[in-house]
């Protein structure tokens, strides 16, 4: 029988080294041995994803690598997650996330989603080219703590402000933290439109959200 630590480091390695075809077998072996699924997720899969994110920060990995790492992570999650009871994983905070209307690029948003999910948040992903009213509706319906918006197109930046204005009009602006990101977005732009935070990368987004909702990492 392979030890728990060995399997954890194998899960982590499979994510980090993009073994998206092999990882499900490792996850199944881990589960078959009766080891705790939550540990497998946090100390195996998420650990590997964090290391991949670190390599991305160091410009060793780029977006193609991160995407395959996340494919591997999700393939592992597909095996381990059904074994969890609902309360095991997650910090109770919900985040509505999407790419604002006028932009159909969602790689950045997907990376942020992956990192936030691996940090224990529940994500409500509205996808891309999302109309203003859908952000507001989803935030209300899900009682979300955070609304995250991204865009790659400078031409669509203004829709972020419209979402913030609309949250205020609906009387829920003080209930949610608004974070924004994407190629043309900057701290000064976030300040200008009244967002609560901006982060430059998916890794920073986790730190930012932790800080805004009062969770210390």
């Amino acid at each position: 029988m392979t030890s728990k630590d060995e399997l954890l480091s194998e899960l982590s390695r499979c994510v980090l080294e993009m073994e998206d075809d092999d990882i499900a077998d490792v996850a199944r072996e881990y589960a078959k041995n009766g080891y705790k699924p939550l540990d497998g997720i946090l100390n195996g899969l998420v650990d590997g994803m964090n290391k991949a994110a670190q390599l991305y920060e160091e410009e060793e990995y780029f977006i193609p690598e991160l995407l395959i790492c996340s494919d591997a992570m999700y393939n592992g999650l597909d095996v381990l997650r059904p074994l969890l009871s609902k309360t095991d994983f997650g910090n109770g905070h919900k985040i509505v996330i999407g790419v604002v209307q006028g932009d159909t690029h969602d790689i950045g948003k997907n990376l942020v989603k992956i990192m936030l999910e691996s940090a224990g948040y529940e994500l409500i992903d509205l996808g891309r080219d999302v109309p203003v009213e859908n952000f507001v509706k989803a935030a209300k319906e899900n009682n979300a703590s955070v609304v995250g918006m991204s865009t790659l197109m400078s031409t669509s930046m203004n829709n972020m402000k419209l979402v913030i204005d609309s949250l205020a009009k609906e009387g829920i602006r003080d209930k949610v933290k608004v974070i924004i990101g994407g190629g043309p977005i900057s701290k000064s732009f976030a300040h200008k439109i009244g967002a609560d935070g901006y982060s430059r990368s998916a890794v920073e987004a986790v730190k930012l959200v932790n800080q805004l909702v009062g969770i210390s990492a």
């Binding site: 993009m18 410009e59 990995y61 780029f62 977006i63 193609p64 690598e65 995407l67 395959i68 494919d71 006028g102 932009d103 159909t104 690029h105 790689i107 997907n110 080219d129 197109m153 400078s154 031409t155 669509s156 930046m157 203004n158 190629g183 043309p184 977005i185 900057s186 701290k187 000064s188 732009f189 200008k192």
Partner: protein, 366 residues
């Protein structure tokens, strides 16, 4: 201070080392010209005359140095079968790639620039542009590089994943894109305009330098050589960080390198400046759209300070296309700042204007 030369006179004089009224400047207004001309952006999809007239109206208003037919990144993929969304008054975006799985790749055919999608509209707009202003300003047209176009044929995430999992697919997508791009470029050059290449997916922010060298650079080189063989120079713009691929780009025979605001003019000048003109890189979102005229002035001056002595020339430009709603006040401020810097650039004056801006910002308690 008013301009005393046309953009063409200015460019020619500077190239010959003669005196000129100011540095060249291109705020890169893109579809924002619709606001200045007073039309909807969607009219650019069907109405060649309006597309040209809006560009001309904006040029006449501000007096900048570059005028270009370019509406969005997707006309070439669209002409090859990808679907786009065309908002009533915003920029066109990709809705659905031409192929969904690898098996369909052999269905992809190069586009005919005279027939397919919006390409004929763009070619017609080029004719109006040259007829109206061709004797006073260098007219250009935009095209995406073959690597970038590949992503719009097969979908961005699928193509990114294929780079590792199925490299031959990416090469095939690039090759068929190359056919389309070459045909379009040839048609534009025949009308008398100069192409410029946008290659955003080549950015180090997206793919590694190694991937760039294997999948993008060979096609980019083929395209640049093709354009040069037709007697034209070409400017390349790549979004995001590009510092690690400058040594590769330096080896191409390009007329200009336009960089994003996250890259450094001073560093790019050191690596590429002896070979090609440098253009950039005032932040289009953080400064041009969100900033005050004073922010615009400071950043423009800092760009001039970093770039003015680049051996093959320097053009003040935004780091990428401006957001549609960028204020005319900020665009005007960019041009006025370039005028104030004089030509040849009075670097002492530029330094003291930078100091003045900073002092004012402190007083305004930024």
């Amino acid at each position: 201070m008013l301009d005393t030369m046309t953009p063409l006179q200015r460019g020619t004089a500077i190239a010959k080392g003669e005196s000129a009224d100011r540095l060249p400047c291109n705020p890169n207004i893109a579809n924002g010209v619709a606001r200045i001309y007073g039309c909807k952006i969607s009219e650019f999809n069907t109405d060649a005359k309006t597309l040209a007239k809006a560009q001309i109206a904006s040029y006449r208003k501000f007096g900048y140095d570059s005028i270009r037919i370019f509406t969005d990144l997707f006309p070439w993929a669209e002409a090859m079968g990808s679907k786009v969304v065309k908002p009533d008054d915003n920029t066109v975006d990709l809705a659905e790639p031409a192929i969904k799985n690898i098996e369909e790749i052999s269905n992809l055919m190069p586009a005919d620039p005279y027939k397919d999608g919006r390409l004929p509209v763009q070619l017609d707009a080029m004719k109006y542009l040259v007829d109206e202003v061709g004797d006073e300003i260098g007219c250009s047209f935009g095209v995406v590089g073959p690597f970038t176009n590949a992503f719009f044929l097969f979908g961005v995430e699928k193509t990114l994943t294929s780079i590792r999992k199925n490299p031959e697919v990416v090469h095939r997508l690039c090759r068929v894109s190359m056919e389309t791009v070459k045909a379009f470029v040839e048609a534009g050059i025949k009308i008398g305009l100069t192409p410029s290449i946008s290659e955003p997916m080549s950015s180090c922010t997206v793919v590694s330098p190694k991937v760039f060298r294997e999948f993008s650079l060979p096609y980019l080189k083929e395209l640049v050589d093709f354009i040069n063989s037709k007697g034209k120079g070409v400017i390349i713009h790549i979004c995001g960080q590009t510092n690690k691929i400058w040594p590769d780009l330096e080896k191409l025979d390009i007329a200009g390198m336009s960089i994003d605001n996250v890259a450094s003019i001073a560093e790019c000048k050191k690596i590429m400046g002896h070979k090609t003109k440098i253009l950039g890189n005032v932040d289009p979102g953080g400064i041009m759209y969100s900033g005050s005229p004073l922010d615009v002035r400071l950043k423009t001056l800092e760009c001039i300070r970093d770039g003015y002595d680049s051996p093959k020339g320097y053009t003040v430009m935004s780091g990428c296309s401006l957001p549609v709603e960028t204020s005319t006040e900020n665009i005007k401020e960019m041009l006025d700042t370039v005028r104030d810097a004089e030509y040849p650039v009075n670097i002492n004056k530029v330094e003291s204007m930078i100091a003045d801006c900073k002092k004012k910002m402190n007083q305004e308690d930024y």
